[in-house]
Symmetry: C2
Subunit: 405 residues, 2 copies
C-alpha cells in the first residue's frame, strides 16, 4: 500500500505527559515532508473528536509550531479517555475516513489507546478501506510492553527523582519538627514512577528510605515495622508509595471507607488514598508525626523539568511513525530498543499493535529488593539514563557535630 495519497489524522489520548507534544511535533515535521500526505488533521480530544468529526487543520498552523511543541506540556490537541465499543462508533469513524480521504492514522497514547488503534486498523482491513495505522507510545506509567520504555516516563521520573531528594532534604532539616513524610506517586498498577523516587539517592540519609510498589502485596504491620526501624536509625523517614498499593485481599490501601457522591464519583482522590491513611496510621500506632506530599497531576505535567533524552526520543518516535508509513507499514506501535552497549543508546523498532493493546508491563522481580520495600541496582542501571542530566550532588557537611564548652 505505499504511495497512498490522502490525508493524515492524528490524535493524543489518555493522561498527558510533559513530552506527548514532542511526539506530535515529530509526526508533523516528518508528515510535512511526505509528498503523499496532503492535509494533516488533529483530532480535538482524541477519538472523542473523531467521533464528532471535530479536528484542527494542522496544515494551516505556523511553521514554528513544531519547535514550540517540543517544550509544551500536556496534549495540544486535547485528550480523552474513551474506549471504542459500540458498533455505531466504528461506522461513524469509517464514514469519517471515507468522506475525508483519511489514509494515515496516528494515535499517541498508552495501553488503552493502542487497543483503540488496533481496533481501527482491523476495521479498515475488514472493510477493505486502504489506510495505514500506527500507534505512538506515550505514558508516564512506563507500562507498555515490548518497548524498552515509554516516552513521557523519563520526564515524569526526573520530576519525581528531584522532588523526592529535594523535599527529603527538607524533612531531614526539619527533623526536630516533622518526622515522617509520605510521597504518594502516580501509577495505579505498575510501580515504575514510584521506583524513580530513588534515583537521586546517594547515601543512607538521602530520601527515600522506603519505597512501596503495586507489584508487591502491602502489609500494614510490616510497613509500621519498616518505618520504625528507619526512624530509630535516622530520626526521620521518607516514604515513597504508589497510589495503587493493595493489601492481600487485593483492596487498595486507604479506601476502606470511601464514599461516592451523588453523581457516583468516588471520593477517594480527594484527600484520602494510601499516603494520608498511612500518615494517620503512623501517628496513631507509632506516635510519630507524619505528613503527606501529593502533587497530583503536577507529576505528569512538569515540562520545565523534562528529561532532554525523553524529549528527543518522543520526537523520534513521532517521526518514525511517518517513516513507517512511507514504507507501507501498518498496525504496529513504534518502540524504543535499547542497544546492549556500555553507553546508553536506543534504536527505533516496531511491534504489532495486537501484542501491546491492553497489555501492561510491570516491574520485573530483579528491580525490587527481597523485602519489597526498595529498588535494586539493576533498576538504577535501567532507569538512570532515562532522566537525562544526573541529579545534582547536593552538599552535605563532611564533619560530625561537636559539643562546645
Amino acid at each position: 500500500m505505499p504511495n497512498l495519497r490522502g490525508n493524515l489524522l492524528i490524535g493524543q489520548s489518555g493522561g498527558p505527559t510533559p513530552v506527548i507534544n514532542a511526539s506530535l511535533a515529530g509526526v508533523l515535521s516528518e508528515a510535512k515532508k511526505m509528498p503523499e500526505i496532503e492535509k494533516i488533521y488533529g483530532m480535538k480530544n482524541g477519538i472523542d473528536g473523531a467521533l464528532k468529526k471535530e479536528v484542527y487543520d494542522l496544515t494551516q498552523e505556523p511553521d514554528d509550531l513544531v519547535n514550540r511543541l517540543l517544550y509544551t506540556p500536556a496534549s495540544a490537541l486535547g485528550s480523552c479517555r474513551h474506549k471504542l465499543s459500540k458498533n455505531e462508533e466504528y461506522e461513524q469513524l469509517l464514514e469519517l475516513f471515507r468522506a475525508n480521504n483519511i489514509r494515515y492514522f496516528v494515535y499517541i497514547g498508552g495501553n488503552d489507546s493502542m487497543d483503540t488503534c488496533h481496533k481501527i486498523s482491523m476495521l479498515a482491513l475488514e472493510r477493505n478501506y486502504d489506510m495505514l495505522v500506527i500507534g505512538v507510545p506515550k505514558t508516564i506509567d512506563n507500562d507498555l510492553p515490548i518497548t524498552d520504555h515509554c516516552p513521557g516516563f523519563g520526564s515524569a521520573a526526573r520530576f519525581i527523582a528531584l522532588s523526592t531528594i529535594e523535599s527529603g532534604r527538607d524533612l531531614e532539616a526539619m527533623n526536630t519538627f516533622d518526622d515522617v513524610a509520605i510521597y504518594e506517586i502516580m501509577g495505579r498498577h505498575a510501580g515504575w514512577l514510584t521506583a524513580a523516587s530513588a534515583l537521586g539517592k546517594r547515601c543512607e540519609e538521602d530520601a527515600p528510605h522506603l519505597v512501596y510498589l503495586p507489584e508487591r502485596t502491602f502489609d500494614e504491620d510490616q510497613f509500621l515495622k519498616d518505618v520504625k526501624a528507619v526512624y530509630d536509625r535516622l530520626g526521620y523517614v521518607y516514604v515513597a508509595i504508589s497510589e495503587g498499593v493493595r493489601d492481600k485481599e487485593g483492596e487498595f490501601i486507604g479506601t476502606g471507607d470511601t464514599a461516592t457522591d451523588a453523581f457516583g464519583h468516588k471520593l477517594i482522590s480527594l484527600g484520602d488514598g494510601p499516603a494520608a491513611y498511612l500518615a494517620k496510621l503512623i501517628m496513631s500506632k507509632l506516635g510519630i508525626k507524619a505528613r503527606v506530599n501529593r502533587p497530583g497531576t503536577i507529576q505528569r505535567a512538569m515540562a520545565s523539568l523534562a528529561s532532554e533524552c525523553d524529549v528527543e526520543e518522543a520526537f523520534r518516535v513521532g517521526k518514525a511513525a511517518v517513516k513507517y508509513f512511507a514504507e507501507g507499514i501498518s498496525d504496529v506501535m513504534v518502540t524504543l530498543e535499547r542497544l546492549p552497549l556500555d553507553e546508553y543508546k536506543v534504536e527505533i523498532g516496531q511491534v504489532p499493535l495486537s501484542k501491546v493493546a491492553n497489555v501492561e508491563k510491570f516491574m520485573p522481580d530483579n528491580f525490587i529488593n527481597a523485602e519489597g520495600n526498595f529498588v535494586t541496582k539493576e533498576f538504577y542501571d535501567y532507569c538512570l539514563p532515562l532522566i537525562g542530566d544526573a541529579v545534582p550532588d547536593y552538599a552535605r557537611l563532611t564533619k560530625k557535630s561537636i559539643i562546645l564548652k
Copy 2:
C-alpha cells in the same frame, strides 16, 4: 565595637527554602575573609542546637562547600521551630557565648527567628556582653516587613508559577474527563505564594482562573458561583487556593470536623484542608468532577527550579551580614531595597530587629482584584522579576477546530 576578635555562631531556622543555604554560603565566604573572626560554628538545628551546645565547626569544612551550598536545598545545618521563652534558656545561651568567645551571631530565618535574634541581641546588651547580632531574612511566605521581598520566596514562587501553568495545560487537555483542579498552596497567613500561581498566565485559557488568598474572607457560596461562571465559559476551572483561607467567623476552611490523634496532633494536614473540602463541595453542589494537587513540602524544596535572581540575592544578604559586622552594626535584619528604576535592581539595606520581630506583611489591597478572586497587574509588576527567567510561552494552536464532512 568593631574589631571584636572572636568566633561566629550561625543558625538556620523555620521552614527551609531552596536558597537558605545560599545565605549560609554568603556568610561563610565573607566571614572567612574577616580577620577578626576566628572559628565559624554552625548550630545544629538552629537555636535547639545552641541550647545543647551542639554545633558544626564550619572552619573545618572543605573550601568547595560554599559553591555547593549555592544549589543545595533545605538547611544544611538543620532547622527548628523553637520560641525562646524560659529564663534558663537565656542563661544557657549566655554561658555558651562566654565560654566559647562567641562575638558574632547570625540567624537566618523568618518572623519568629527575627524575634529570637532580637531577644538574643537584647540579652547581650543587658548583660554587657559584647556581641554583634544580625538577622538574615528567609521565608517562602514573603511575609517579613520592610524588606521588598524575602530570599526563598522567588524560588518557591517560580515552582508554583511553573507547576500551575503546566498542570493547567494538563487539566485543559483532559477536560473531557476532569473539570476542576484545585491547587492548595503554602502560606497560612499571607497569600504571596498563592498569588504567584498566576505569574505564568498569558491568556484566559491558561491556569489559574481563580485565586483565593488569606487576605480576603472566603465565602463558599461566592466560591461556587465563581467556579460555575468559569466552568460555563471554558468547560474547565483551575483554582489556586491558600492553605490558610478562612470564613467570616475566622475559621480555616475545611477543618470543620478535624480530629486530633492520641498525641494531640491535629489531623488536618493529612488529606483534609481547604482543597479537598472544596473539591467535594464542587462535586456535591455543582455535580462537576474536581481533583486536588497538594505538593506539600515540595513547594519549599525545589532547588532544581530555583530562581537565579533569588539564589544571588540570598547569597548577597548573607555576605551583607558579615559586612555589617565589620562596620560594628548590630541588632538589625538585612533587607532588600528595590530601586525605583524601569529595570529591576535591588540594594542591600538594614532595619532594626525590633521592627520585624513577629511582624507579618500581608498582600496590599492593590495587589488583589475587587472580587477578591485574582491578582492585579500591580502584583505582576512586583513579582515577575523575582522568579528569574520568564515562564516559557507554551504553544497553542492558532486556528479554531473545524467540522469535517
